[in-house]
Amino acid sequence: MLDDFLIRAVLAGLGLAVAAGVLGCFVVWRRMAYFGDSTAHAAILGVALSLAFDLSIYAGTIATALAVALLVSMLTSRGHAMDTVLGVIAHSALAFGLVAISFVPSARVDLASYLFGDILAVGRSDLLWIWGGSFLILGLLCWRWQNLVTASVNEELAMAAGIDPRLERLVMSVALALLVAIAIRIVGSLLISAMLIIPAATARRFAATPERMAAIACIIAALSVLAGLWASLRLDTPAGPSIVASAAAFFMFAQVFRSH
């Protein structure tokens, strides 16, 4: 059954959808949209390094995404404003990545697939990585759930309850790095943060509690994957952008309903 490229694509997309739906809610609550963008753009640099040193693409993207997350927290602790730091890092990570990839002849050919994803080329081992990473992200978030939600509502309340907000930020950085790694084959570096933010933002209107918002975001992300793949086959459009476009369509449609 897994021999069919379409089945593999659907499974890969759904693997990303469940993790992105839940993690995306935290990205929205903690106003980390731009942070997600920075780590996602850094993935291109990770791809270039992986190919140059003959490493797994997944290992390379996780490592660079984590490095960028650390760099951001280091620069902000030195007193730079968060949005300035992210503006510098998001674009320079992408620029360095594109420069680095030009030195790797094999990657130049598939540059577009790393920028916009290539879900229809997902293989069996990719599926293992994607679902493994997805479970790891969900496990991490479930383990820290109460603390993460408290720290997202208010850091002082969290501290008074004995929660260290720095630890929760680290958890978020690790989860984001993992997500970037599993998403790069599916929607590509440039559209990863869209998969985080759009389903979560759509779910906000229909949810009264954080948990319900996370569940609804998962469903919307999964529906976007299915709709995007269907459109891609029917209209012969690129799969990754079609998935994000479907998510955006759901978002627009949700605006019709009254907000919760």
Binding site: V28, W29, R31, Q146, N147, V149, T150, S152, V153, N154, E156, L157, A158, M159, A160, A161, I163, R204, A207, A208, T209, P210, E211, R212, M213, H260
Partner: protein
């Protein structure tokens, strides 16, 4: 009576700098006591609270907390974000899950019974402050710590809130440590007032501090009259909530 928290020669700096915020502060609070910290902006009131809670590194001195001390905390100005959906009920279960009855009881105790299903962002400032107080009361604290709990409330709301604090103390026996800008109202509701300005300027009963030259130098001499007004009101109109609305007008 042994103190719940006591500090000795406590000194702290502004975070990340060598600027002193507090120097040589001796502080203590006894079980069931209501202590209010007043002082101008930048006098180190909130820093004292954070240090006592263990959120700030000490430069010198020591802090002793009674073993097993449970603290309920209402931080200064909790900014709510519309991006996170949060019912009152769910909020009370952060970060520790509490049962429905416990939650309902806490809400009833602070005068906001039945608000469980409401979104936090839909509450008025006064309701939200009471929900925060209910959350702080959930785990039977020995000590309630309130950092400027009435910010953003109007005058009647402020008076009603401090009456609630006294009521809560009477019911639960919890000690209360407050930081406040509402000098005159809050002082009347306190057992002891500490006037802070980088160090302890003066300390004692509300009447004593209100008359102290150090206090009047910081806040102006005419403040005393309003204090008397509050005490007068407080003595005679204890059970009439409507009269509170006229206070200070």
């Amino acid at each position: 009576m042994t103190a719940l928290i006591a500090s000795e020669k406590l000194s702290i700096n502004r975070p990340g700098t060598a600027d002193p915020v507090l120097r040589d502060v001796d502080f203590h609070i006894a079980p069931g006591e209501i202590v209010t910290v007043v002082g101008p902006n930048g006098s180190g009131k909130s820093s004292l609270i954070r240090a006592l809670l263990g959120h700030m590194p000490l430069i010198a001195g020591r802090i002793d907390r009674r073993a097993g001390l449970r603290i309920g905390y209402v931080p200064q100005r909790v900014q709510l974000d519309r991006s996170i959906p949060m019912t009152v009920r769910r909020f009370l279960s952060l970060p520790r899950w509490v049962g429905g009855q416990v939650a309902a009881l806490a809400l009833a105790r602070t005068g906001v019974a039945g608000l469980e299903a409401r979104q936090l962002t839909e509450l008025s400032g006064g309701q939200f402050q009471r929900v925060l107080l209910a959350r702080a009361l959930l785990h039977d604290p020995h000590l309630l710590v309130l950092d400027e709990p009435t910010q953003g409330l109007d005058q009647p709301g402020i008076v009603a809130f401090y009456q609630l604090i006294e009521e809560v103390r009477r019911q639960t026996g919890a000690a209360v440590l407050m930081v406040s800008h509402d000098l005159l109202v809050v002082m009347g509701a306190s057992d002891r007032v500490i006037c802070l300005n980088g160090h302890v300027c003066c300390e004692g009963t509300p009447q004593y501090v209100g008359n102290a030259p150090e206090y009047r130098a910081l806040f102006g001499a005419d403040s005393k009259g309003t204090l008397a007004l509050y005490r007068h009101h407080h003595d005679h109109d204890h059970d009439s909530h409507h009269d509170c609305a006229h206070h200070g007008e």
